[in-house]
Amino acid sequence: SSRRSSFPDEVLERVLSLLKSHRDRSSVSLVCKDWYNAERWSRTHVFIGNCYSVSPEIVARRFPKIRSVTLKGKPRFSDFNLVPENWGADIHAWLVVFAAKYPFLEELRLKRMAISDESLEFLAVSFPNFKALSLLSCDGFSTNGLAAIATHCKNLTELDIQENGIDDKGGSWLSCFPESFTSLEVLNFANLSSDINFDALERLVGRCKSMRVLKLNRSVSLEQLQRLLVNAPQLAELGTGSFSEELTFRQYVELESALSNCKNMHTLSGLWDAKGIYLPALYPVCTHLTFLNLSYAALRSDELAKLLAHCPRLKRLWVLDTVEDKGLEAVGLNCPLLEELRVFPADPFDEEIIHGVTEAGFVAVSFGCPGLHYVLYFCRQMTNAAVATIVQNCPDFTHFRLCIMNPGQPDYITNEPMDEAFGAVVKTCTKLQRLSVSGLLTDLTFEYIGRYAKNLETLSVAFAGSSDWGMQCVMGGCSKLRKLEIRDCPFGNAALLSGLEKYESMRSLWMSACNVTMNGCRLLAREMPRLNVEVMKEDGSDDSQADKVYVYRSIAGPRRDAPPSVLTL
């Protein structure tokens, strides 16, 4: 008897095309063969969390209709210079395949990939319908590559260049947008340093009437900002340039008026070198702001307090620790809807610092903002009691990243390890997905994590733990763990091998400066052939030590483009 599916395939595809989440799509594709096929024909966006877990050919074979690709490359610790140069993650091989199989590709979002100018030029000319390019934390290219994109991509809607290792050769790339070009909606060049031709920018903004995101770099002055805003009151997200030149009264009034015309603005960032006296110009915008990024403006506590008094709807706030605990108290008082807080250190390497934030500021925020679920907090002192109070006030944490900047520092009042702090976090915050630990920690912390953090997906550990047992607890207990990154911990082969069964269900494991040996890695590689076990050795280190280990699952087999410093076992 022939099996008839309840829906014709076309209908199924139509329904499935409405599914956006790639996890849902993965689940759908596992139901049965029909659904697998329907899903693969209807998928337009593919997300690849580790570019080496799959090859471009395999992707092209499975998904014939992709228009948007998100790719992530290097391990996260490459942001902190722990990954050797030319480690890999080059986009070019992918682009070549895409040019052949997806000539209608529209969007490319890359994170921690290596891109050269040639690749960018190739991209610009190979995809006539190309619309959106987003580069975050990538390196290997220069502003010449951006010029190629600007010149050739006639339908570009998004150019988002964030925090990359870019070789900034000047700002002339911006002038490469042709005069007939009007489709740009998102332009972010905040992290480039050179001066751009302001007239070209002004004309560009003037003719791109659908522009909704504009993030300027530091070279754009306040006066120039005002001129831009006059032509673009529809902006939803604004990253100002430098916020600190001398303004005449009239210029200030004009700026304030231009800002108040931006009724749609919900995100504000930039504010480089912001001077307190000009912040009031922002007040009209603040009333409907939901995301305020002050992480490049070293404000004092009183300046922040005054500003926040006008931001009642704030949901996400990024600040520098120059605002100190008093500033954070103001956060707690003024922003009851706050969901995300990130506090960055203004001077992370200055030990004898009289400022910065302490546990008191964090506690103050937790009292005022019960909806807080994402926090990234850099501080120099913390106590177990404070963290316990914080999670009691805010039990909905999904991302808890606490960085006590002095490695291995205990509770500064009781001198005990910070085990109970993170114990409280995992016990109380059942929805916890991401955790970064710091301070003096023993295996007890990891026992807690393994026992309670059942939804944990990402764990970052540094300078913590006492023995293999710690890591074993985590590997054994955290069933949903996907990414584990460890540095400078006393975990050895026993710990590494305790996760043998687990690594295939994870995206990746990183262990550096631990006690893992080459033999342990070889054993792992032998037992688990579907894992890529890569070891990066440092010059002059012991032959038997595996200084840096990166383990990830892959259906593409061991990679062929590894540099000599990376050994694949």
Partner: protein
């Protein structure tokens, strides 16, 4: 000791200009990190790992060999005495940090103290001074990146106890990770976990803010023999008296520590003696990089030009021409003269301005008087009087 003699004023000035240029370059090096990580190690022929490893001074800097011998000698002797083994002498960068270089002028005690002490803060601090102090915006991006200064930091950090140390090396480009192998184990690369771009923005941000922020004028104060630097806000004091008493309070813990053997009850007066007497001298580095004696210029001028402070031991102050125990008034006039010379232009300009103003106003007065006189004459000539 022969080495202190080399710390003559000229030598220090050279060091200071070298330091400044090394500060500039290291800060622009850190600002260029995100720009060109690859170039640094692979493509740029003028910079390779080896070079950074062995580099002592800046490229094209005069007589790096001289510097090597100047400080190298000290370190060799210090090496042996402190079990400082395994560190290639060449890795140390001279003239990197003024305070640091002075701190190692043969006083073994200080050297050991700084190394084995709580942390390598002083040395690290010194090195930290480089990047933020350079304070250049990331617009300048010389490709000839020099990482000599940070290299010093990392090597010095080595003899620490195995316990991981507060990282100073984040200012260092990834190059250093590969550069000094024996040191690698005890170092803390990539900590705290902050992306390069943000680190560099903060470095230049901080320099700007600490220098010009309204209401705050933070300068670092180092004291010879103290394990770490302090920061003071010059704006919170109105005169030298308040300032010096605040400093005394701040650093009393260190001096107490140092003369603890003299008895527990260290009174204020004893402390004042220490600071005001020949034992310690308060100096500051001004805008031009010259080290001056605190107290010579009016307070406002001092706060305007002071970049950082240093409480020197009298015995070290020989080269600066600061009075020390043994050298007495001989050196003082030199310094006074220098202060005068330095400010001479300012003084004479001010004077000139006043003179010009006087002449102008007196001229205007005369003109006005003359005009008035003519006017009155005219009215009188008319033989009629206006109705007012």
């Amino acid at each position: 000791m022969s080495t202190p003699l080399e710390h003559d004023y000229i030598g220090l000035a050279e060091t200071s200009s070298m330091e400044r240029s090394s500060e500039k370059i290291s800060s622009s090096s850190s600002s260029s990190i995100p720009s060109n990580i690859e170039d640094k190690t692979t493509n740029n022929p003028s910079l390779n790992l080896k070079e950074t490893e062995l580099r002592l001074g800046l490229p094209g800097s005069e007589s790096p060999e001289r510097k090597l011998s100047l400080f190298g000698k000290d370190l060799e002797t210090n090496d042996k005495s402190n079990g400082f083994a395994g560190i290639p002498l060449k890795n140390l960068v001279s003239g990197a940090k003024r305070g640091f270089s002075d701190a190692i002028d043969g006083s073994n005690g200080k050297w050991v103290f700084a190394i084995n002490g709580k942390s390598d803060v002083e040395l690290g601090k010194g090195a930290v001074l480089a990047s933020p102090r350079g304070g250049l915006d990331s617009k300048t991006n010389p490709q000839q990146v020099r990482t000599s200064v940070p290299v010093m930091k990392e090597v010095v950090g080595v003899p620490q106890s195995p316990k991981p140390v507060q990282d100073k090396k984040n200012l260092v480009p990834p190059v250093n990770e590969h550069a000094s192998a024996p040191a690698a184990k005890a170092q803390v690369v990539g900590w705290p976990p902050i992306r390069s771009f943000r680190k560099n923005s903060m470095a230049s941000n901080l320099a700007k803010n600490s220098d010009e922020a309204a209401g705050c004028l933070y300068v670092k104060v180092s004291m010879d023999g103290a394990p770490y630097l302090r920061k003071v806000d010059l704006k919170t004091y109105n005169n030298y008296r308040e300032f010096s008493s605040a400093l005394e309070k701040m650093f009393s813990c260190f001096t107490i520590g140092q003369c603890g053997s003299n008895g527990d009850g260290l009174s204020e007066s004893r402390l004042m003696d220490l600071l005001h007497g020949s034992e310690y001298v308060l100096t500051y580095e001004d805008k031009d990089g010259d080290w001056m004696l605190v107290g010579d210029v009016p307070w406002e001028m001092f706060t305007d030009s002071c970049r950082r402070l240093r409480i020197m031991k009298g015995s070290e102050a020989i080269g600066l021409g600061i009075p020390s125990k043994s050298h007495g008034e001989m050196q003082e006039p030199e310094l006074m003269q220098k202060t005068w010379k330095k400010h001479r232009i300012l003084y004479s300009t001010t004077l000139y301005t006043y003179v010009c103003a006087f002449r102008y106003y007196s001229l205007m007065y005369l003109v006005e008087v003359r005009e008035k006189r003519d006017c009155i004459r005219q009215i009188m000539a008319l033989k009629t009087y206006p109705i007012i």
